[in-house]
């Protein structure tokens, strides 16, 4: 029996661009699929096809047991969509927004009002409920948007980059909400550019590139394919590179790579933080002074590099955004290295 979200051979072209080039997906009920990929890979187009917003050129899509192409209206009754933008009317209050969405889900006005109240409480928006959404912070708007997608407690949810642009605290909050949702039995398809996010939330990850699913598996499986963890260090003095390299060889599971001009050494390892501590002790014992050392875990870029041979690329119009995210990623990576 096909899962709560099922797609086979989805193709969508825009002019010369083959945005989807035969996407296959199967998400069992009550699980989370993370759709991971760079901008322009086809994540959003996939979501749009599955949520009746876009008609694929060919292929089959079944959501909540309903044929997306033949029963679009029935599908719409069974899904919630939270898009890339917080799609709320900023001049309406939080309550008015939710009430409107409820009524458009064909609830009675009274039922919609009651449900809006419930959701505002659940999403900690009660205090701001009667202020125009314009006055909300980015995180609050996201929560309101998500609440709007949950008005009918749909059995199947789609979230397109739900945490893009959120600060770490808000991201964490939203993750908690999503986890709660899934533990209540909702099936979720979530797109993201962050491996970390997919890691946190998804039971299974599908990596998309150029409109195709190029790899599928749990996050551990994908990371294993990507080559796992590495220890990366920078020695203080150039003439100690040889000594440091010797130490790393003793702990590593492969070749030690050396970048002379940056005094940086990298080696694949298994053993995590414990091993890192041992490496540091050993370097210390030999009197090798280091500027930086860290355990580097595979990032989205690494997954991409190993799966496709190219780095995750951004489309032109997304470059600005992408640059901002790259900076965030760097910061985050730094945090894990400390």
């Amino acid at each position: 029996m096909p899962g709560a979200i099922y797609a086979e051979g989805l193709v969508k072209t825009f002019g010369d661009v083959r945005a989807l080039d035969g996407v296959d997906l199967d998400v069992p009920q009550g699980t989370v699929l993370g759709l991971l990929g760079p901008n322009g890979a086809g994540k959003t187009t996939t979501v749009r096809c599955l949520t009746t917003l876009l008609r694929p050129d060919s292929g089959t899509a079944v959501v909540a047991g309903l044929d997306v192409l033949r029963q679009p209206d029935a599908v719409r009754r069974s899904i919630g969509l939270s898009g890339q933008f917080a799609a709320v009317d900023e001049y309406l209050t939080g309550r008015e927004n939710l009430q409107m969405v409820g009524q458009l889900y064909q609830m009675s006005a009274r039922a919609a009002r009651a449900r809006a109240g419930e959701l505002l409480e659940q999403f900690h928006l009660t205090e701001a409920a009667d202020r125009p959404a314009k006055t909300y912070s980015g995180g609050m708007r996201r929560r309101l948007d998500l609440a709007a997608a949950l008005v009918v407690s749909p059995p199947v949810m789609f979230m397109d980059e739900p945490t893009t642009g959120l600060d770490p605290r808000n991201r964490q909050q939203l993750w908690d909400v999503i986890k709660q949702l899934v533990s209540d039995g909702t099936t979720l398809l979530l797109t993201t550019q962050y491996l970390e996010e997919a890691d946190h939330l998804a039971h299974e990850i599908a990596v998309v590139d150029h409109g195709r699913v190029i790899a599928k598996g749990t996050s551990d499986q994908l990371k294993a394919r990507t080559g796992g963890e590495r220890v990366e260090l920078v020695v203080h003095e150039r003439d100690r590179i040889q000594d440091a390299s010797g130490v790393l060889r003793g702990f590593g599971k492969g070749e030690v790579t050396v970048e002379e001009h940056t005094r940086k050494l990298t080696v694949p390892v298994t053993g995590g933080a414990k091993l890192l501590a041992e490496v540091i002790r050993e370097l210390d014992a030999r009197g090798v002074e280091i500027d930086d050392i860290g355990l580097r875990r595979p990032t989205l870029d690494d997954v991409f590099l190993s799966l496709t041979g190219h780095v995750a690329e951004a489309t032109d119009e997304d470059n600005g955004q992408k640059a901002g995210r790259a900076a965030q990623d760097r910061r985050r990576r730094k945090e894990t290295t400390k």
Binding site: F85, A87, Q103, A111, E118
Partner: protein, 281 residues
């Protein structure tokens, strides 16, 4: 979730038409709330026609020959039907910009993912614009009375004229809806929604006596749907300058205005709803 969820899932009982009306009213309410919260839009929408009333009647009045006289007071009465009609058509730009903005902000995506009637987002918007147009007309009529505009018929005919104006404005908002769905940015919808209105409203009988135009221009003016509404209003208000042209719309302006408006609604509603179904931000 709560015990209420089950009852919430049950859709409100309504047929396809009932659902369409109900959804349209929900969306109209949303747009009316916006109007109240952003009163600037309504206010700026008023400044322009009031400025036109003042500028045209005082600058042009006195040099315009209407029915053989250049009296400024005659021109002022002649002018008002034109200004009323022009004002209602300018609602087009508002509808276009609003819908383009909804696209831009992802709201149209949200609406399209909901199990609501397909035309309701656009119908709701045009209905809200109709309310705004009515409000604008009331204020404009007061200003017109202040500068000396008078009607010389009965209440029924005056109300009929305003009815035609509202219908015509409603029809034009559907053109705006199509423009809003077709452009990439709200800014483009605003300018794109206005640019073509200048020739439409100026190559007409709104501000000058069209019988004095060169023949080809006069033909366009006389068959211009906009002119039919202006002519009908002049007739129903009992204002001077009613064209005596042989052209059918000038002979039967009330019917012509009605037919034109209904045709515009039918054509542009169909096109806009089709566009909406495949709209992508």
């Amino acid at each position: 979730m709560s015990a209420a969820t089950d009852t919430l899932r049950t859709p409100a009982p309504a047929g396809a038409f009932g659902r369409s009306v109900r959804d349209s009213l929900v969306v109209a309410k949303r747009n009316l709330i916006r109007m109240v919260r952003i009163p600037e839009v309504v206010i700026f929408g008023l400044i322009q026609p009031i400025m036109f009333v003042v500028l045209f009647s005082y600058v042009f009045g006195g040099s315009m020959n209407i029915g053989g006289t250049t009296s400024p007071s005659v021109y002022r009465e002649f002018l008002m039907a034109g200004i009323f009609a022009q004002t209602v058509t300018f609602a087009t730009a508002g509808a276009g910009a609003g819908i383009a903005e909804d696209m831009h902000k992802g709201l149209i995506d949200r609406f399209r993912s909901l199990p609501m009637a397909r035309g309701a987002v656009l119908t709701g918007r045009t209905l809200a614009d109709l309310v705004q147009t009515a409000l604008t007309l009331v204020i404009l009529a007061v200003v017109a009375l202040l500068v000396g505009w008078r009607t010389h018929t009965n209440v029924g005919e005056v109300l009929a004229a305003f009815g035609l104006l509202l219908l015509s404005g409603y029809a034009f908002t559907w053109i705006g809806a199509l423009i809003g769905l077709s452009v990439r940015t709200p800014e483009a919808a605003t300018s794109g929604g206005l640019v073509w209105l200048f020739p439409v409203t100026f190559i007409s009988n709104a501000f000058v006596d069209s019988s004095r135009m060169t023949p080809w221009l006069r033909h366009i003016a006389e068959w211009n749907p906009f002119s039919a509404t202006v002519q009908a209003c002049r007739q129903l208000f009992g204002n001077p300058g009613v064209s005596t042209s042989e052209a059918w719309p000038m002979q039967h302006p009330v019917w012509a205005s009605l037919i034109y408006s209904i045709l515009i609604v039918l054509i542009f509603r169909t096109l806009a709803v089709r566009k909406y179904r495949s709209a992508t931000a």
